[in-house]
Symmetry: C2
Subunit: 211 residues, 2 copies
DNA sequence: TGTACATCAGTGAACGCGCGTTCACTGATGTAC
DNA sequence: TGTACATCAGTGAACGCGCGTTCACTGATGTAC
């Protein structure tokens, strides 16, 4: 942001100042409004009120733009999971696992535009180091908690199987919710309620007995 | 297929004979090779060796083409689930539910191109009656089996909650497998093995006690 | 404080491309008589 | 069996469009002295 900003703020400065983050935000809006297939560099630039050549200074190409958007999504997912655990004051493995599931689904419902890009991921570069790192920040804590659960005697099954199952159930629920299937089939209107019920059912079933 | 087909089969007849099903098959190939975003009427027509105006005689427009492809997917999904139940000679609710889960995942792994179009479903017409009917053929049996399970005393939880959870876990597992996440994280190489483990874990947990 | 200059960030024209849809057309088929 | 004709299915030209990428450019910033 320029120090010498004139009193008349409608005079647009030649340099945008925060173009990178603005472009990512516009990507999100376009996906939310019209779907991933509609995202184009030119439309993103148009919404940011910048020439369509400008994004090239921040993202090598279209794939780079979408990959950066997915990375931002992973960062936010990791944050949401952590803050959900903290807000629930969860400490035991069942409490933590349930909070993680709720955080994951919460993120998907609140950030459908990120979730959609992060997951099938046709258009993004899965080799990108920032992408790999951000993705690891999400999966690491899940593995940690199931290992801890096993160590503390909460599990009767292989911890990696439990991790894969936990991830699957919450991912599937989020994906089906976003595509409108859960609402259509069960008449559910509140994602939080069904997320809570499903995660509770799963955690209670899998961690029923403490050795 | 023309009765008066000439001996020289390389002479292409003006009428294709089975263009509709050929076009759908080409859609599948394109998605498998390059992703949903790459499907275009012109490319589909090109692969079917037909002019790009021809598809309009079978599908109103691009959305109609993709919707028809999704409908075909739902039909195959319902068939796969039924035949998996039959092949396993499953009769009790836990056996049937587990077989349904395996069938669902089997379908996704074997028909990723259909699965990808059927689910986020950005590009398809969810109001299409054929679409709604085909989709119902898949969900109906799931509701039937959880209701039966409840009636026979296998469930401690609300049957619709169990149905939503079952669908979620198997859908999430399939989606994560198709996006390569499960393989990357667990080192699993055989989808059947992990599908079997996950469905068993779920069914055994949820239907543990018989009232 | 002032000046020169390198670097950064955004411009806008140009390129070549593939797309969806429409439409007048024509070859092939099948049916009525 | 033969003929007329309606209907069906595929053709290919034309339309207008938005796209990604490149590139010589210029305005703005910031740093060295």
């Amino acid at each position: 942001v320029s120090r010498s900003r004139p009193a008349n703020r409608s005079r647009r400065s030649y340099h945008h100042g925060a173009l990178r983050s603005t472009l990512l935000e516009k990507v999100g809006r376009i996906i939310r409004e019209h779907g991933v297939g509609v995202v184009s560099i030119r439309e993103v630039a148009r919404r940011a009120r910048v020439s369509h050549g400008a994004p090239a200074h921040h993202f090598r190409n279209k794939s780079g733009l979408l990959t950066a958007f997915a990375v931002q999504g992973y960062d936010r997912l990791a944050d949401t999971i952590q803050s959900t655990i903290a807000a629930a004051r969860a400490t035991t493995p069942p409490e933590v696992l349930e909070a993680m599931g709720r955080g994951y689904a919460r993120f998907a419902v609140d950030n459908p535009e990120h979730f959609r890009v992060m997951f099938p991921g046709d258009a993004i570069d899965q080799q990108d180091p920032a992408y790999i790192a951000a993705s690891n920040r999400c999966f690491g804590p899940l593995v940690d908690i199931v290992r801890r659960a096993e160590h503390e005697g909460y599990l009767a099954d292989d911890p990696m199987l439990v991790a894969a199952s936990a991830w699957s159930i919450v991912h599937g629920l989020a994906a089906l919710w976003l595509s409108g299937r859960i609402q259509a089939r069960t008449g559910a209107a509140d994602p939080d309620a069904i997320v809570k019920d499903v995660t509770r059912l799963f955690v209670a079933s899998v961690m029923k007995t403490r050795a």
